[in-house]
């Protein structure tokens, strides 16, 4: 039976993992906050619920997409697969990106509403995706922003495919567009082949709270696009903010998403009032994410207890209504002279501290390798191998093993490989921020 109610907003639950006990004079409070959204629609067959979502697919059509010619064809097929995955009722558009951005479908500054007819029309229009021209990613995003702004949908999402460097605009221009678009829509980014710049693509994804990945083999694009669109269709609620209250005279050392990937949100705070700030988390479907919050408080005396942070997930509302609180967790500090209590380390905090270090070690190691600093590269990537092994991050360990020869995993002894494939190095770099969750304690 058709339901005309608004799609169900998932239920958010928050769990805080920490060792709240601090020694006398201790000031740093660490906590992992696990936020889980359930009851949304991912995977479930939805019938009749009007889809309050809009998606713009941006396809790189620069000249390089014709080398090899299969790349452009694969991109067309992938876009078609994404269009097929659109739920009925979702607004969508396709943009061809070169040194400028061009509407391919439906055109006229509008979005089409997905149904059998519009899907066919869109796929037919994809023949207009031809390779010639340069690359100015900022212009693509600006057009997507304009299109999505007119849609009035609550879930606004972009999918961006590029195969080359952002050569036809300055980094400042791209930065300015990203700043302008941030919070307007979310965007997943893919680099196809190996001629694109990892930092550019991850920068876009991180600014727009989406995922970034490499599709080294253009033949895999269609499956990847289908999955990306599926995940976009599973989003139930957009613009969720991580709201952090901290006491007077405290300092927020950092706020990071640490699972499913590392993303530092510290600098993205928007002050709500003197002691409260919001950090963007984008849109949510049925999923679980972990955040690491580190606050420095004024130490109090032994026996005192303090609220070091109140972490909530809020949904800003239009107009004068107060924002809706979706879930809340308390981060506490208790000062004790019991050494056994204060020296205990929360397994979750330790694990994610290691995962964040792992991401950093990979990035620094690859940078040093590119710069020809073999010693530093060996040390950093060795440390990464050790951390990946300790934490059971097998995917990252496998990627590392394509870049270094592992001599002793536990000690982190490695040798840099010669003749590493570009695809392997770029895959490692793009996926360096992927984390695994804490293994269940026996």
């Amino acid at each position: 039976m058709a339901s005309f109610e608004k799609p169900e907003v998932p239920v958010f639950s928050t769990e805080v993992f920490q060792n709240e006990y601090l020694p006398e004079g201790g000031a740093e409070v660490n906590a992992i906050v696990t936020v889980t959204a359930t009851g949304g629609g991912t995977g479930a067959v939805r019938t009749g619920a009007p889809a309050d979502a809009a998606v713009v697919v941006m396809v790189d059509c620069s000249g390089s997409m014709d080398h090899p010619p299969a790349k452009m064809r694969n991109a067309r097929d992938a876009t078609a697969a994404a269009i097929d995955t659109l739920r009925d009722g979702v607004s969508f558009a396709v943009v061809a990106g070169t040194h400028t951005a061009r509407e391919i479908f439906p055109g006229g500054g509008r979005l089409a509403v997905a149904d059998a007819t519009t899907r066919e029309q869109a796929k037919f229009a994809l023949r207009k995706l031809t390779a010639s021209g340069g690359t100015a990613i900022g212009s693509w995003l600006a057009l997507a922003d304009a299109l999505l702004a007119g849609a009035g949908a609550s879930i606004r999402h972009g999918i961006l495919l590029t195969d080359g460097r952002n050569e036809h605009e300055s980094p400042q221009e791209l930065r300015a567009v990203l700043d302008a678009c941030a919070g307007h829509f979310t965007c997943d980014c893919r680099g196809v082949g190996t001629d694109w710049e990892v930092k550019e693509v991850t920068q876009v994804a991180s600014a727009l709270l989406g995922t970034a990945d490499i599709v080294a083999d253009p033949g895999h694009l269609a499956e990847d696009f289908r999955q990306m669109m599926e995940s976009a269709m599973g989003k139930e609620v957009a613009d969720v903010q991580l709201r952090l209250w901290t006491p007077a005279n405290s300092l927020i050392a950092f706020v990071k998403q640490v699972a499913p990937s590392v993303a530092d949100l510290t600098a993205r705070r928007a002050d709500v009032n003197a002691r409260t700030g919001d950090y963007p988390t984008g849109s949510w479907g049925d999923e679980s994410r972990d955040y690491h919050v580190c606050v420095r408080v004024q130490p109090a005396g032994v026996g005192q207890e303090m609220l070091a942070a109140r972490v909530s997930l809020v949904l800003p509302s239009a107009g004068d209504e107060p924002p809706r609180v979706l879930g809340q967790g308390l981060v506490r500090a208790v000062w004790t002279d019991d050494m056994a209590a204060s020296t205990r380390i929360s397994p979750q905090v330790a694990h994610y501290t290691g995962q964040a270090e792992l991401a950093g070690a990979i990035q620094q190691g690859l940078e040093a390798r590119k710069a020809g600093d073999t010693d530093r590269a060996t040390a950093k990537l060795g440390r990464a191998v050790q951390l990946a092994a300790e934490s059971g991050n097998e995917d990252t360990a496998k990627l590392l093993a394509k870049v270094v020869d592992v001599v002793d995993e536990a000690k982190g002894t490695v040798r840099l490989k010669r003749g590493v494939a570009d695809a392997d190095e770029m895959t490692l770099e793009t996926r360096s921020t992927k984390t695994v969750r804490v293994k269940k304690q026996a």
């Binding site: 901290t246 006491p247 007077a248 005279n249 405290s250 009032n273 003197a274 002691r275 408080v297 004024q298 130490p299 109090a300 005396g301 032994v302 026996g303 005192q304 207890e305 303090m306 609220l307 070091a308 109140r310 308390l330 208790v334 000062w335 004790t336 002279d337 019991d338």
Partner: protein, 506 residues
């Protein structure tokens, strides 16, 4: 007369003619004196721009906290802060319009309201009556003007809500606001306090500027507001007890219950139960609360039914133990890593001249006779490692208690108790004195009966509550390393109208 633009209690915007706040109903005339304070503070005008200027300079704000319009949740912060003031920054960045300022920071309006309507208005005494605070969220009012918090007098004259139970029931525990930190004791909270202000602001005892939120934490400095259990005093006509969390623990894991029961023969049974949660266990505070309630209720019931006191005592300890065991989740049964809730328990029952004590663990009962006619005596034997060593003749008492393992208890109430071995004993009292029932938080500072006798205040028999307070103070002065609880039963039982007792019995 200057005109308020927002309500000092709830920060609601006001019309010029309003006499009461349209939102919370607070009378607005009363708020005038604080407003005058604001004028004083800023020169001639409660104009917000002046205030903003003043905010940037925390030093100007001494004593201004109780003032005014909104302005000043943030000001209040500034005045009280030690060290750098984050709030001043925020404030300077804020809209210079006072109304906006309040709107922007809920703390501010709330705070100013609390002051204006509470302490600031009539110079309230150190202890507000419960429910007096306009926020209604917590009963503790700030210390009296002119008294630094750490030197405030003990609340002898404070109104103490006392519930006199009907016979044979365990009355609800009544609670008074926590006593201020005592003179002489080093209060770790001191470090958080700035120089005491003549007119403190919010109801948070830590920063004195913030208000306590619904979750029990100050909305400004984040400190946990004192909880009801942090300091509990109760008295019945014949028995009184005080429990305090001490100076080094973050919560009170001790608990007690007092009751009186009428015996079938018309006599009266006076009951005190004291429990100490095992810190290394899960939820020890719940364990002690459950044990004391269950044990006290069982004793009152059985004794009212005419049960033989030692038998009743034995049953009550088993009942208390069952109540604690019930706290352990069934799924944790058999899990060696799960530390089930656990506590000790010691009870005393006085019927006529017959004193019966019962215990499990290392909480104790003492008999302190008046006037030196008899030797004071400890009436219980600890279930502890040290006591076992001494008992077995393996170590001298001095050596055993000096051992790090001395305080490890060998008997407790809880799902993981190896064997439940309630100890009971009865004594006939033939000379006036007091029975003390206490946790190790007290006897760690006066271990032997003679030492306790030495610190017992004169008049203990006529003022058991004062005596209990005084003994708790001994522990706090000694360092207050643990939660402290002591119940005092005078013998012969005082009947009704002792000085300082709550209500008289009809």
């Amino acid at each position: 007369m200057p005109q308020l633009t927002v309500c000092p209690s709830c920060a609601e915007h006001l019309e010029p003619e309003d006499k009461f706040c349209g939102n919370c109903g607070a009378p607005l005339a009363d708020a005038d004196p604080p407003l005058l304070g604001a004028e004083h503070l800023t020169g001639a005008d409660a104009d917000a721009e002046h205030l903003t200027g003043a905010d940037a300079d925390a030093g100007h704000l001494t004593g201004a906290d109780a003032d005014a319009e909104h302005l000043t949740g943030a000001d209040a912060d500034a005045g009280h802060l030690t060290g750098a003031d984050a709030d001043a920054e925020h404030l300077t960045g804020a809209d210079p319009d006072a109304g906006h300022l309040t709107g922007a920071d809920a703390d501010a309006g709330h705070l100013a309201g609390a002051d204006a309507a509470g302490a600031g208005r009539d110079g309230e005494s150190a202890f507000g009556v419960i429910g007096d605070a306009p926020t209604g969220s917590y009963s503790l009012a700030p210390p009296a003007p002119g008294h630094p918090p750490q030197a405030a007098p003990a609340p002898q004259a404070a109104p103490i809500p006392v519930t006199v139970p009907v016979s044979s029931s365990t009355a609800e525990r009544s609670v008074v606001p926590p006593a201020p930190p005592r003179a002489g004791a080093v209060d770790p909270r001191q470090g958080m306090l700035a120089q005491p202000e003549p007119e403190p602001a919010g109801d948070c005892v830590s920063c004195e500027a913030g208000t306590v939120g619904d979750d029990g934490f100050c909305t400004r400095c984040g400190h946990r507001a004192p909880r009801e259990r942090d300091h509990v005093e109760r008295q019945l006509p014949t028995v009184a007890a005080v429990s305090d969390k001490g100076l080094r623990h973050h919560r009170n894991e001790d608990a007690f219950a007092l009751a009186e029961a009428e015996r079938p023969d018309g006599g009266r049974a006076i009951i005190a139960v004291v429990c100490d949660g095992v810190s290394s266990a899960t939820r020890p505070d719940e364990a002690s609360a459950a044990a004391s309630q269950a044990g006290g209720a069982q004793l009152a019931n059985d004794l009212a039914d005419g049960a033989e006191p030692r038998q009743a005592m034995h049953e009550a300890l088993l009942t208390a133990a069952a109540a604690v065991s019930a706290l352990a989740p069934p799924e944790a049964a058999g899990d060696p890593h799960f530390n089930a809730p656990a506590c000790t328990c010691v009870s005393a029952v006085l019927i006529g001249d017959l004193l019966t004590v019962g215990w499990i663990g290392d909480s104790r009962a003492y008999w302190i006779p008046a006037g030196g006619t008899q030797e004071p005596a400890r009436l219980t034997e600890d279930d502890s490692w040290a006591a076992r060593m001494v008992e077995a003749g393996l170590m001298s008492e001095a050596d055993a208690y000096a051992d790090p393992r001395a305080h490890a208890i060998t008997g407790w109430l809880g799902a993981d108790a190896e064997e439940l071995d309630p100890h009971t004993a009865s004594f006939h009292l033939d000379t006036p004195g007091v029975v003390l029932v206490c946790t190790d938080g007290l006897w760690n500072y006066a271990e032997s009966a003679a030492e306790l006798a030495a610190v017992l205040p004169s008049g203990a028999r006529t003022d058991p509550l004062g005596c209990a307070r005084s003994l708790v103070q001994v522990a706090l002065d000694g360092g207050g390393h643990d939660n402290v609880t002591v119940a005092v039963l005078p013998f012969p039982a005082v009947d009704g109208g002792a000085e300082g007792a709550g209500e008289r019995r009809a």
